[in-house]
């Protein structure tokens, strides 16, 4: 196959095949979502899927929630272009699950109801802690949502050959509207089914491509690496660290900072934490994480082969020349292997991926607003379950519109940093308080508030004054230079700072926290006494 033909074909692919397969996914999932909604009535149904999913189902849904289009397209592309340095994402994203498994998942399931703030405010003063936790939740969801929506626009440029802004905006609107529909109708139950189906499609698709591309090299990964070395202008450098981050001391430190945010961010991602409430018991929460680790681990091993395969079969020059640049490595590889049918399948899976992830984010943000902010601050009284669901549904529409507007505004901007920022915020604003409130008796309201706001604000302020925003050619505002902070990843400063503030705020508190509540939380977290039960229908 000659290169010009491939490029033309990959740009256009066969848009009808791509759209057809994606439309089939939408129809099938919509039918399932509508069926699932028939048994949804209470707020535990709407926000926690009735707590009736098995650990295996929930683990698959977690993989569907976690593996975003950025992991698939971005990591395959990064490994194809930068070799070893691209591999860090895969490892960090996987190892991070051990924090969730060993320290968070089961204890959280035993003490909370719907949101991360349930656990954080359990034994502290409700109002300030819930509001701070809601800010952390909203910030992570917003950054993540914007990244996915902008990614949807970019993906379209590549797959459907829609390069004008109006066409891309139209696709962002379609994704946003579908997200609103899924979450309004199906709630957590519908969202979970969408995520399960998407996870199976994505992992199976990546698995087939992995075996296929390995087969072309006689199942010799060493040979595949050799072919990638031959095609890469930097040659053997792709086998070694440093191609992306090895320039100087600052970029090396940036690499460590990114690694830190990846490994500590996952267990603080609110949409991941919320998934642990959809199972009946702590033991099922544990099974969920185990399944998630198996599926996510397998997937990231596939991305290593796919990235190397794209480097060996397509080569970095053709990847960078294609519309979509680094993100086009996986679709180009699909076309090289299986022509327009496989390309259509993989494109549809990538779209489904965006849709499932944004739906999970939307329901998390809605639960946080209805349950943590509206109930405790605006209404100033406990909401009835019906009100809690109604407020949540209104929030979903507002978030959907915001995501559409933000996604369109972010068109053409370099927003790849948003996913890394979401992880850095989760690791600094959320994780320290989660760990302190589960394991440290002396933790206080002041410590929680200091740690959450300190982590959130420091991560965002450091990003604003980093080369991401200004002072470099790749910045969002390349003309200006107010980059006082040299790193693109704030984690190495903001995460230790948030841990420090949590400790400092607690030891300087004059008022002690309620020891009864502390005893109740500790006993409940480890034994499951009084944990929320599944809904019976």
């Amino acid at each position: 196959m000659n290169a010009p033909l491939l490029q033309a074909a990959a740009t256009v692919g066969n848009p009808l095949v791509n759209i057809g397969i994606f439309a089939a996914f939408v129809v099938v999932t919509l039918v399932i979502v509508i069926r699932a909604s028939k048994t949804s009535s209470s707020s535990a149904d709407y926000y926690a899927g009735g707590r009736g999913f098995s650990g295996t189902q929930n683990g698959t849904a977690i993989a569907g929630d976690y593996l975003s289009a950025a992991s698939f397209l971005g990591i395959v592309g990064a490994i194809a272009l930068y070799g070893y340095d691209g591999f860090l994402y895969s490892i960090g994203f996987l190892v991070a699950w051990l924090v969730a498994l060993l320290l968070v998942a089961e204890l959280l399931r035993n003490t909370g109801r719907f949101t991360m703030a349930d656990v954080l405010s359990f034994r502290l003063r409700q109002k300030p802690v819930r509001i701070a936790a809601a800010f952390g939740t909203m910030a992570v969801c917003l950054f993540y949502l914007l990244a996915q929506m902008a990614g949807a626009g970019g993906l379209v440029a590549l797959l459907l050959n829609i390069t004008d802004r109006t066409g891309q905006a139209l696709v962002i609107i379609v994704v946003g509207v579908l997200m609103i529909v899924y979450v309004l109708i199906g709630g957590m139950k519908g969202t979970t089914y969408v995520q399960i189906i998407k996870a199976i499609l994505l992992i199976a698709g990546a698995g087939i491509m992995t075996v296929w591309s390995l087969a072309l090299f006689g199942f010799d990964f060493n040979g595949m690496l050799g072919a990638a070395v031959d095609l890469h202008p930097k040659g053997e450098a792709i086998l070694e660290p440093g191609l992306q981050y090895g320039k100087d001391f600052t970029t090396r430190l940036d690499f460590v900072s990114l690694g830190l945010a990846l490994v500590l961010g996952t267990a603080g991602l609110p949409h991941v934490l919320m998934r642990f409430y959809t199972v009946p018991t702590a033991k099922e929460a544990r099974t969920s994480v185990v399944w998630a680790i198996v599926l996510i681990g397998a997937f990231y091993l596939f991305t290593l082969v796919l990235g190397t395969g794209a480097g060996a079969l397509i080569g970095p020059e053709r990847i960078l020349a294609a519309p979509g640049g680094v993100n086009s490595a996986a679709p180009l590889l699909a076309f090289e292997l299986g022509g327009s049918i496989l390309l259509g399948l993989i494109s549809a899976v990538a779209f489904a991926t965006i849709l499932a992830v944004v739906a999970g984010l939307a329901i998390t943000a809605a639960a946080s607003f209805a349950h943590d902010v509206y109930g405790s601050v605006i209404a100033k009284k406990p909401l009835t379950p019906q009100e809690e669901v109604r407020i949540g549904k209104i929030t979903v529409v507002v978030i959907g519109v915001l995501a559409i507007v933000g996604g369109i505004a972010a068109q053409g901007q370099n927003v790849a940093f948003l996913v890394a920022l979401a992880f850095a915020v989760a690791a600094s604003a959320n994780l320290p308080t989660i760990l302190y409130s589960l394991f440290w008796r002396g933790f206080t309201t002041r410590g929680a508030v200091w740690s959450m706001y300190g982590g959130l604000i420091s991560a965002i302020v450091l990003i604003i004054f980093s080369p991401v925003m200004s002072g470099a050619e790749t910045s969002m505002i390349p003309g200006a230079d107010f980059a006082l902070f040299p790193l693109k990843n704030p984690g190495i400063v903001s995460i230790p700072l948030a841990f420090l503030l949590g400790w400092l705020g607690s030891v300087t508190s004059r008022e002690a926290e309620d020891p009864d509540k502390q005893a109740e939380m500790e006993v409940r977290s480890l034994t499951g006494v009084g944990a929320e039960k599944p809904v019976q229908h």
Partner: protein
Amino acid sequence: MSSIEHAPPSPTAEQFRAAQRSEEFVELRRTHRSFAFPMTVAFFVWYLLFVIMGAFFPQVMAIRLWDNITLGLVLGLLQFVTTFAITFAYVRFSNRVLDPRATALRERLEREAVTGPETPEAAR
């Protein structure tokens, strides 16, 4: 799935305080932490070591073990292996050691919430 239709009565604040002081609970908490904490420190240090080696000692990670296979690649794949190994070790430990104790304690507390304390210790 559990078939409980009504939530069982919740223990009172005194019962939670007593349970927290009870020998069984102190032992359960110690057992959980004595597995989870060292394991967390171990995988975290091992992961950081991997990241820092790649960032600051790339020439070590670039050592060829065999043709195109570098030390860095093998250590990266070992990160996958240790993650899977720790996961299965924790599940085994939980099923064998933690779950029976947690269940016994939970059942006792749920009974006591209805009938009052059963052990002299909880009555204190």
